[in-house]
Amino acid sequence: MHPASPRPPAVDLPPVAVPPATPPTSAPVPPAAPSAGSTALPVPEPAPDAGTARPRATRVAEGSMVGGVCTGLARHLGWPVLAIRIAFVALMLFQFIGVIAYGALWLLMPPAPATAAPGLESASRAGMRDTSSTVRRRLDWGPVVALTALATGLLWLVQISGLGISQQLFWPVAFACAGAALVWRQADSAQQKRWQAEAGGRVWLAPFVARGGWPALVRVIVGLGLVGAAFGLVLAQWGQIGQLPEVLAMTSLALAGLAVVVAPWIHRSRTALNTVRAEKVRADERADMAAHLHDSVLQTLALIQRQAEDPRAVQQLARRQERELRTWLYGEELGGTSLKAALTTAAAEVEDERGIPVELVVVGDAEPSEAVQALVRSAREAVVNAAKHSGADKIDVYAEVTEDLVEVFVRDRGQGFDLDAVPEDRMGVRGSILDRMARHGGRATVRSRPGDGTEVRLEIRP
């Protein structure tokens, strides 16, 4: 979007003339660049929590002309964009203050985080969506050329009119500005790309662009070269080109000193950055989990609507969904294959297969020894039996672990049966419960009276 007025063009200048206000200070700028770049990075990530009353000042990509500074400022202050753009252009006419201010703001303002609905973000992270269509700033060369031409013309006009910087200083300043802008621009785009990659964009691009790669390197080298040229130009103008080695040595010494001073600070911001990243990963995981659950709730609701005539199916669906949600929201993390975990899984399976709620209460827990596994299998069989034959509307399973005994009770309030009347060849109770327990040195007792439900008691030494 370009509000086609003659002013905004001038705002396009700033990137070419960013930080060095005066030529001599242009030398120390590069070492500071990485630090400023990396401190700016942690800022955009916790950004979502900000912005209750007034939006944070961020660079806004959408609707921006150059770096999005004016748009971002306008949004932050609640002023019209055009007014701010005009102000910047006007300021530019006074010793390029507008340009310098724009450049500084560009560096200081973090890019606006692009947020989508949590479910979509999560799906993008999980690679379940096509993200290539996400909005990107596309470079439109036509306006850029026009703007550059206009800006050059304007600059020239300013120079001619004598309001600008003296001719002697102009070229060094221009070179230094261009070089520094290249270097800074590099930091900026790397930061954006990295951020984008972390948000699930093109992950394969991240190491290439964010951690350097040859385009970045070329940009930095050219930038530094331009700054060096500016430096040399100044020296040449002073007619002291012969002292170049000494000056270079002095400069590099100064730079080294500065690096030593700044190093701990850079290191600290690096560490902070890593922490922020780790936090983001954790937050993402949780968000993904939540999204998954919400997603499954949606599925369940859809299924329920479709099967509205079948109360049993509806109940089964609701029950399963309830269990999943409850486990996630309030449940304990049942790691591994302990007795508790195994029983929980078994109960859930039967519940899903048979559509009968299984209430499980476990006191204590035990390691999954062979005996315990046999116990769990027997208990599962008992639950399945109860679900199949008892006609009860609920099955209670209680497991208690004491020092020398593991007990499981499976109880239903169904129709019950007479154990002696069960034919010898019926595998269910006899084979998979009584005999299995006996084989592992345990014991199973079935207590059932017709009309009074059934309780199977299993016990085994862990």
Binding site: E322, R326, G331, E332, E359, V361, K394, Y398, E400, R413
Partner: protein, 246 residues
């Protein structure tokens, strides 16, 4: 949890107990003591309140409802129901906060906690704060009516899960030096009763199983409840805190 000075807001209110029903209260006349129990439903989900009212409306009189801690305290202190059905998770501090504030002005008020959470610290927390029972929201209508009646009569209501939690909390080796008399352990009989409840037995069935009267079962359960509420057992609190963050 933090705003313990409970008295100002509710304290000014209960002065005209019957005449000033809180927001959302149904007509709250001081009905006859006998007859159906008078119940207030406190839950922040309107859909759930409606469902519960539909389910238990035949057997009890729902005399008020509330959706957060503040209005709950107002409604309860105004209506003085026999039993309050109290959701564990409520905006404004949770069910525990309601218990604390109401009990500050009406220590006799009976609460039955219900929740979807089933998390140990929620269950134990609300019982220790003074609820006389705990059931899950998936409980069916008849069971819920039964539980309300039992609480109204002054008994305790333990779901199988709550029984399991209590057994868990009171199990394990006890450091004899820290045992605070009987409060810190369950008697053999109480343990048996709890185990049967955890196995899914109703009080009646527990009584038959142990050859004792239902009244005795109720006494045992109430005694467990008291221990749960009064025990300073180091292990009990630690047990609950251990489960705080999963």
């Amino acid at each position: 949890m933090t705003s313990t000075p409970a008295t100002p807001a509710p304290g000014s209110r209960p002065a005209p107990p019957a005449s000033l029903p809180g927001p959302g209260t149904a007509p709250a006349g001081p009905a006859a003591a006998s007859g159906p129990s008078r119940v207030v439903v406190v839950d922040d989900h309107a859909m759930f309140r409606t469902g519960v009212k539909a389910e238990i409306g035949q057997a009890v009189r729902v005399v008020g409802e509330a959706a957060d801690v503040e209005s709950a305290v107002a409604v309860i202190t105004a209506a003085r129901p026999d039993v309050v059905l109290l959701d564990v998770h409520l905006p404004g501090g949770g069910g525990v906060e309601v218990l604390r504030k109401v009990h500050a002005v009406a220590p006799e008020q009976k609460f039955l906690a219900l929740s979807v959470s089933d998390a140990a610290e929620d269950v134990i927390g609300v019982i220790r704060a003074g609820a006389r029972g705990y059931v899950t929201k998936s409980i069916n209508g008849t069971e819920l009516i039964d539980a309300i009646r039992r609480v109204a009569e002054g008994d305790a209501v333990f779901s199988p899960r709550l029984a399991g939690f209590v057994l868990d909390a009171f199990s394990g080796a006890i450091d004899l030096a820290t045992v605070d008399e009987d409060l810190d352990r369950l008697s053999q009989r109480e343990r048996e009763v709890l185990r049967l409840i955890a196995r899914g037995y109703a009080y009646k069935e527990v009584a038959r199983e142990l050859f004792i009267s239902i009244k005795t079962v109720e006494t045992h359960v109430s005694s467990v409840l008291r221990k749960l509420q009064l025990s300073n057992r180091h292990q009990l609190t630690r047990w609950a805190t251990d489960r705080r963050l999963v």
